[in-house]
């Protein structure tokens, strides 16, 4: 029977002071006891509206019920039937605006900790040595997947399960997309990602790194001489935006992508054991307040900054980061400068950053996005002394593939255009999904798009086979 308890079962966390100096995971994960204790809070609603909050419609009460009963194997099966990346999503989904926002318990109490339970089940699964998957590639049609972020990984996995030989082409030297180079180890251990990738390989998916479609191989070659019958584009939104303010090219100014890539992909935190350095001074200002900004500022503390500052032109209400990341950032001593807009980056004679000139803002009328528009307060300019500035103000899709591929349509933001409600692009047998289509969004949306595209590709290939 469900048990009424106001609070979520707390997630065991590592001490803020200790953890803010290393890359070990912040959340330690539920043990079985925590998980079953929390699972009892689920009411198993007749009409489980939590599912409506989940982009891939995980059968939430069903898997939680299995956890309560103690049948973790079954819980894992239920979970995976709809979400192929549960260990990742359980950790990084913005649950408070998705499944948990809808949860009925949340009306009066704290919602059921769906994300923590999802993570628990997925982690349990990773520890089992007897879960065996084997490849059964019985279809003739080869499918190419471009990009190995969550969209590409999931699409490839689903197709391999349907029996298709799939090859993933990845531009970087390691697969995973943002899960590899963007989201830091302390939030998403690379072991988790590696395990998921290992499963794909067991399913028979081939991953070829160091190949850029549009440069090393063109789309025409893929679909022509190389014989791929369908292509899925999951190239993400990896092109960093800059603000266009003076001083952006000073030494010590980074895009969040560069800063995070240096650390996550190139392991700059381990310099000089690893060869790629990263430059952090005493005070690091990160501009923006999304997940990327939180990841960046917390990473800066971990690679030696004494002060990590978030500078954001709107207020805490408009912040787009997950609530948990904001909370963790506060605990780790990050300083927040809300309603503060940078107007110039200042440097010394040698071109090194010395400060950030900012202007204070106040909230005005709502803008197109429905959020209050920040307006500058005249005469409120001031200089914040800093040694580094990291811009985390958004990413757009990378135009590389578009530039060399005929017949692929994109909108004015560079996002690939797909037919309403499908993954079909303007080119025959070319499908797309994830950030490349939506612009920078979330892991679960990308994963969901990959999954849907796999079903469409299957349908399309079946229709054409007969």
């Amino acid at each position: 029977m469900p048990v009424k308890r106001v609070q979520k079962t707390p997630m065991p966390e590592r001490d803020a002071v200790l953890r803010s100096h290393d890359f070990g995971e912040v959340n330690e994960g539920y043990g079985i006891a925590h998980a079953q204790f929390e699972a009892e809070r689920c009411l198993r609603c007749q009409d489980p509206i939590c599912i409506d909050g989940c982009p891939v419609r995980v059968p939430i009460p069903e898997f939680i019920h299995e956890v309560a009963k103690g049948d973790m194997r079954r819980a894992a099966e239920v979970l995976r039937s709809s979400n192929p990346l549960p260990a990742v999503c359980g950790r990084v989904c913005p649950q408070e605006v998705q499944c948990e926002e809808q949860c009925s318990v949340g009306i009066r109490f704290k919602p059921v900790a769906i994300g923590y339970l999802e993570r628990f089940v997925a982690d349990w699964e990773m520890e089992q040595s007897d879960i065996d998957i084997t490849a059964n590639l019985h279809r003739d049609e080869k499918v190419a997947v471009i990009g190995s972020g969550p969209a590409g990984l999931v699409c490839a996995g689903e197709l391999a399960r349907l029996g298709y030989p799939v090859t993933i082409f990845e531009a970087l030297h390691a697969p995973g997309g943002v899960l590899r180079y963007g989201i830091p180890e302390f939030r998403l251990p690379k072991d988790v990602l590696d395990w998921e990738i290992e499963q794909l390989k067991k399913l028979g998916v081939e991953i070829r790194c160091n190949i850029i479609i549009g440069k090393t191989i063109t789309m025409d070659q893929l679909m022509g001489e190389m014989g791929f019958k369908a292509v899925f584009i999951g190239t993400g939104a990896g092109l960093p935006s800059f603000m266009g303010i003076p001083g952006e090219n000073l030494n010590g100014v980074y895009s969040a992508n560069e800063f995070l890539t240096r650390v996550n992909l190139m392991r700059a935190n381990d310099f000089p054991n690893a060869d790629t350095p990263v430059m952090v001074g005493k005070r690091v200002a990160v501009i923006g307040a999304g997940n990327t900004a939180m990841d960046t500022v917390r990473t800066a503390l971990r690679v030696g900054a004494e002060h990590g500052l978030i500078v954001y032109r709107r207020s805490v209400e408009e912040m787009t980061a997950r609530v948990e990341e904001h909370q963790h950032a506060i605990e780790e001593g990050v300083e927040f400068h809300w309603l503060t807009n940078p107007v110039e980056i200042l440097g010394d004679e040698e071109g090194w950053v010395t400060g950030l000139r900012c202007i204070r803002m106040e909230l005005g009328e709502p803008d197109e996005s429905g959020r209050a528009r920040p307006v500058p307060i005249e005469g409120s300019e001031f200089v914040m002394p800093v040694d580094n500035v990291v811009l985390s103000i958004g990413n757009k899709p990378n135009p590389l593939l578009l530039q060399t591929t005929k017949g692929l349509e994109a909108n004015k933001w560079g996002c690939l255009v797909v037919h309403d409600g499908t993954s079909e692009t303007s080119r025959e047998r070319v499908f797309a999904g994830g950030d490349a289509v939506t612009g920078a969004a979330t892991v679960i949306l990308a994963a969901g798009a990959g999954k849907n595209a796999a079903a469409e590709i299957h349908q399309d290939l079946c229709a054409n086979a007969s």
Binding site: H173, T216, P240, Y254, T261, P272, D275, G351, L400
Partner: protein
Amino acid sequence: MAKILEKRRLTPITQLYKVDAPLVAKAARPGQFVIVRVREGGERIPLTIADYDREAGVLTIVVQEVGTTTRYLGQLEVGDEILDLVGPLGMPLEIPVEGHIVGIGGGFGSAALLCLMRELRARGDRTTIINGAREKDLLILNEELAEVCDNLELCTDDGSAGFHGLVTERLQQLIDGDGPGRPDFVVAIGPMPMMRAVTETTRGKEIPTLVSLDPLMIDGTGMCGGCRVTVNNEVKFACVDGPFFDAHQVDFEEAVRRNKMYVRQEQESKDRSDCMKLAVGQD
């Protein structure tokens, strides 16, 4: 992975490699580059594609050993694999002018002129290469370069071979009508001070000039923005918009400053790899 098929020492700090990279060789065009990583935990570094053989699937690169990664690469032997190699990156060189094209090379840059000048000559241009170095023994690829152009001009600072003086002094003489004569177009590839000097030599003389910028890079796909340079007061990503830019519009000062961002760390890393090399040598 790309296997090293051939390796040849050109100077005490420069080596030429032929590597097995069929996909890249097939797609490569003059002016493009690859990014390599030579060991786990290693840095990703850009290297110009000096030449390619589409049929054989072979790529030529020429590497100057200046720091950790280039020296690790230098220790690889024929038969060894380069851990990661990706490309071709960057925009192929477009020479919009026909006529007398002068390519100026210094350091590893001379190598990049191989495929470029061969293609220009095939297109019908008159081609001159000015190959420069401090002294005779540091001049690279003289024979190969002679084969791909109409006139090869050698320059050494000390006069030990060819013209006694800087490449820009010889360039000025050409502009004044000496030797193969006034260039209609100049491409310079080499150390920053050389490219800067070439830029000043052709400035205001109605000789369009391209230089190959070499900012620090990571991904080479436009993802990090670390390679940004300012050209004509606009910010460009050298890995996708370049690496060749209109010389007369380049903000060299900024480019030079940005390349010095990690001098201290580079030295630290180099010292460390020196120690490691010693350690390896001892057992």
